[in-house]
């Protein structure tokens, strides 16, 4: 089976989309991430849910997990307000840190898709043909296909 056969319709967002709306979309549709497209509609990056958490939780708390325990609930809520003032561009890592985008073409085999996702630690891969996003393959869909029923 090829990537185009496994691809499912998948919502995309732009770099200037509202970050809160993007997070809500992810939560509502139970998506592991979103495909972010540039101005020309080409895939720019994949925004996984964990990246939103990485953006919200201060770096010093990520470095020193003991600090996470000293926050009260009110302080935790305040952290979330940071998302309200941000766009998807703000939430993504620096461009120089995005070394590879998990994109495959329609002809890619399942093992090629799995290799790309494993290499960049992405929960999904965008399937692209002729510079157009056909859809995406999630880890769940890929495992469903690979594991014997």
């Amino acid at each position: 089976m090829r990537a185009r056969d496994l691809a499912q319709d998948f919502p995309t967002v732009s770099l200037d989309s509202d970050a809160t709306e993007a997070a809500r979309l992810m939560a509502r549709e139970q998506l592991p991430g979103l495909i972010v497209c540039d101005g020309d509609g080409r895939p720019y990056a994949v925004l996984p849910g964990s990246q939103i958490l990485r953006f919200l939780v201060p770096r010093y708390v990520q470095d020193d997990p003991a600090l996470a325990r000293v926050y009260d609930e009110k302080a935790s809520d305040e952290l979330l307000s940071k998302l309200g003032r941000s766009t998807v561009r703000d939430v993504l890592p620096d461009k120089r840190d995005i070394t590879e985008i998990p994109v495959v073409d329609g002809d890619a085999t399942t093992i090629e898709v799995a290799a790309v996702m494993a290499r960049v630690h992405s929960p999904l891969a965008a399937v692209v043909e002729n510079d157009r996003v056909l859809g995406a393959i999630t880890v769940r869909a890929l495992l469903d296909h690979l594991l014997p029923s």
Partner: protein, 430 residues
Amino acid sequence: MTTTLVVAIFVGAYALIATERIHRVSAALGGAALMVVIGVVDAEVAFFSEETGVDWNVIFLLLGMMVIVSVLKQTGVFDYLAIWSTKKARGRPFAVMVMLTMITAVASALLDNVTTVLLIAPVTLLVCERLGLNPVPYLIAEALASNIGGTATLIGDPPNIIIASRADLSFNDFLVNLAPIVVVLLVVFVGLCRVLFRSAFVYDEERVAAVMALDEREAIKDKGLLVRSLVVLVAVMVGFVAHSALHIEPSLVALLGAGTLVAVSRLEPPAFLEEVEWPTLVFFMGLFVMVGALVEVGVIGDLGERVTEAVGDNYFLAATVLLWGSALLSGIVDNIPYVATVTPLVQGLVDSGGGSTQSGALWWALALGADLGGNATAVGASANVVVIGIAARNGHPISFWEFTKYGLVVAFVTIALAWPYLYLRYYAFT
């Protein structure tokens, strides 16, 4: 010819370390390797000679303390102390800065100053964020305090460890000779902070409630581990104080403490080795081999004789030059290679004085100059570099000049106070 080659290799490697054109570990190891290739250094010279070999006391003291810090980090005690003190200060910005810098200074005297700022910086960012304060002045003040506090003891700053081992000075020698002036310097430093960082003290009553709501007890995940760790830490400090009487080297005290802590904490190797900076330990080894080569071919001996002749019996002049010169150089280049190189020269001067108080005080001039001079610029001490890195990763970049404009003032004032201290204590009445 061999001597010229040795000097050329040493100067070349030192230039690479100072300019950071290549990683300092590569430069030190490359220099050491070339000393072997030209036939000056063999296994005996590099590993087993007390005069020219790797100073294993320094390496293992550092290793032991790094393991101790790795275990202490797991306890969350620094987070607890910082939040507790901020709450005690009722969130008043200047009082918070005083509390945080004093915790840093004391911890730096007992541990290593790089590790101390690594442990205190994250919780400082949290406190400042809760109080709505710019964390940059607080982080800079902590780096400066760590370098001053670390000056007080044998284990507080790597240059002191090198000096102690090479000069056969005890933990108590450092405590008796350096701690008094460091206490004075810290008091003056608090006053300087009030002036230098005055624009950082913005009090917002509403934000204070956000800090008072933090629960510092939550930072302590395992109370049993904390108690066991503190008991061992106290025992290690007692061991340091009594090491001369017990005839145990400080390095062995640190290793025994580290081993005990590992045993009682029941942590796995990745956890108790987390804070061990292997590149730093290897850098030290390369450096010792390079300096050992200079000693082996007689360069240090010749230089020492000339310096001794020039100084004559005017040891206060020598102390003055050593204090201010070390401060100047330590502000520009890393103070570790500087001290490793200068120590054999100072040893010659001290020996020429027959172990008198006046000549012996040269060690304190070197330690004060090298340790306090590290505050002068953003790259003068490892703690400064670490703090700047943490600030940048958390969205608060500190430029070289932003750090240096505060560091220069603090370095100058502290050195200027250390100078009359040396004069009054060791030269005026003898």
